[in-house]
Symmetry: C2
Subunit: 386 residues, 2 copies
């Protein structure tokens, strides 16, 4: 298996980008990543996108997007695992280079969710749940995550204020990220006074509906060293993928995200790392409770300690393990197919020392954790300066 | 790069299976393939599906289907490239084993297209074309392929009767396949008298709307030899992937399927084979013209000779290079995400000598060619007895 490195990153600003169609968002991110990498030819394009069919009436993105970039002919593949589609696109590109099937891969993620002709976002996102056993009965994702939150609060004593602290931290980080959808300082009181969406979750516990695209260029570590010209080379040392039951009704324990734990264990094993080795992480904070549960499932904190940890500032910028320095899904925005790729971009920027005001000093090992549905699938990558 | 073999195959019958939901179709095929392989544990599941979102309101099949088989936890990934989604699922599984990321992969394809709550098939399939520049203006796939047929007839003198001969041949083959949707002998006159759909294409030039699922089990050639117990080992020796412009308006030459040619060239190069080495092929005959153009793009016949070849019986069972011995999409049916996997099943069955009445004597090298949209993407695999 060949070693794989990230040699270029690029993304659009995230937000409600009403005037920009899916293909233009995608091309902007792709061109930025190719420019950053200094390459103009790729062997493969991977595309993470959850539901361009439902949102915009357009499937077959492999062909559409290769064509949009004037690359018709190049092999291209779309992958989907709901909101973990971006992470899956990273994995697909990683596998092709590791196998020796490709030398240079353009890994991308995109979602166009606002100002679309197709399904509304709540319906389209709801198709990541079990359509027959959850969606049909009217439950949508705020409701599913509210149930997870209730179980976590009951089991571990996680508090409403601890949930709010996730939003406060991530919005503070997002203020430092020019690509973020919101540049908005929020307080614990702001969260607690925001509109109730699905008890106990309020509006400021929820990530937004977002348009955006993100892209990476991957190649072998060997070639990355040739192209690096003295800059740090960032290698993907671990890649883990896992599923869990799609519906909460089938799940053994609602207080744990099993797919995140398994995907993390697989990534740690491949990289030869433990949670203590990770200097910073981007985790899938689609709702505030999700960040707390993810930090536990990844082993940064024991079960039940995720809430107190955020309250104590352990996951703040400057804390023991900074989490979601980019602002996370909560503040940076959540164009679902792009999210997993954008998480890796944040880690690469930090490891290169390019993160500006939100730079984590001395960061050499980082993790990106992407998740689909209510934890039905997860993809975890570990990246390191080599 | 490790060598990859197919050790198990399984599929549902194809047809209008009104009482069977997507997840049950999928599980039937998956269990059959695992039983055929004699394994009960896999490292990865890949799923080719074009548009479960539009057809059935269900995305996130990775989680849904792993769970359906009681395998929650196992890594799973859905891939999509319109009607080439099944071929792409084969490629994704191939890459993971080649890289050493997985030892045993369950490769699957599925589509539920009839008796669904979601979009009608014509709309959903139309999302494989350019939604803004083709679909919006009302053109659907029979119309797009009719344009390709007109150009081919004008350029090369391909006749209406030659198109009909494709349907006659494939329906004759389908009579010998118990999994086929139609067991229906048709004559040239039947085709020429069938309802006009999009001039020059008539109803019997078109593949049907179908429910179905298909599955393979892949592992290393080394492990396959251990499990074979004297049976032939079928190796995937070539895998090629390519795109072309998504819209016909952008395409340089409408008389050639460029993505098929490129994907074929890449598969031939990997396998160290030429068209003369191929003993039989399954090609993507979504419309009769598509089979003629595919046999030219793959180099079995020179440009313009595909029509005369089918007329002379060169692609018949018993001909120089039998094409679509399974009945093809035309007679076997076309559950779009499953098709690319089912094509590989036919080749494996032939190479194992398990094809019964439609067995091609002495078949040792076969090809499966899957296609998305109006040739916007294609995936080609070469399989050999080793």
């Amino acid at each position: 298996m060949r070693d794989v490195a990230v040699i270029g990153v690029g993304m659009t600003s995230f937000g409600e980008l009403w005037r920009t169609p899916l293909r233009s968002l995608w091309a902007e991110a792709a061109i930025a990543a190719l420019g950053d990498a200094g390459v103009d030819r790729v062997d493969l394009v991977t595309i993470g996108c959850m539901s361009s069919g439902l949102f915009t009436g357009q499937e077959h993105l492999a062909s559409l997007l290769a064509d949009e970039l004037g690359m018709a002919g190049v092999p291209a593949a779309r992958v989907e695992s709901a909101c973990a589609s971006g992470g899956l696109a990273v994995r697909a590109g990683f596998a092709e280079i590791a196998a020796g099937l490709a030398e240079v891969v353009l890994v991308t993620g995109v979602e166009k969710m606002t100002d679309v002709d197709g399904a509304d976002a709540t319906y389209a996102l709801g198709t990541a749940a079990d359509a027959e056993w959850e969606g049909f009965h009217g439950v949508t994702f705020p409701g599913l995550y509210a149930m997870l939150a209730r179980v976590h609060m009951q089991r571990f004593g996680t508090t409403r204020e601890q949930l709010a602290r996730v939003a406060v931290k991530n919005h503070a980080n997002g203020l430092l990220n020019r690509h973020a959808q919101y540049h908005l300082k929020v307080s614990v009181a702001d969260v607690l006074e925001s509109t109730l969406v699905a008890d106990p979750l309020r509006l400021l516990d929820c990530s937004p509906v977002t348009d955006g695209a993100a892209a990476l260029v991957l190649t072998t570590v060997e070639r990355a060293r040739e192209l690096a010209a003295g800059k740090p080379v960032v290698r993907i040392t671990g890649s883990g993928l896992a599923t869990d039951t799609v519906s909460l009704a089938n799940r053994g324990d609602l207080a744990e995200l099993g797919a995140v734990r398994l995907a993390g264990e697989r990534a740690y094993a491949m990289a030869g790392r433990t949670p203590d080795d990770i200097h910073l992480a981007e985790v899938h904070d689609c709702f505030t409770i999700a960040e707390i549960m993810a930090t536990e499932a990844l082993g940064f904190f024991a079960a039940g300690d995720g809430g107190p940890a955020v309250e104590k500032g352990l996951t703040d910028l400057g804390g023991r393990i900074p989490v979601n320095t980019s602002g996370g899904l909560k503040s940076k925005g959540h164009p679902v197919g792009a999210t997993g790729v954008a998480q890796v971009i944040e880690i690469v920027s930090q490891l290169r020392g390019d993160a500006g005001q939100r730079q984590v000093e001395g960061a050499r090992v980082g993790m990106a954790q992407n998740m689909g549905g209510s934890g039905g699938s997860s993809v975890v990558h570990i990246l390191e300066v080599v």
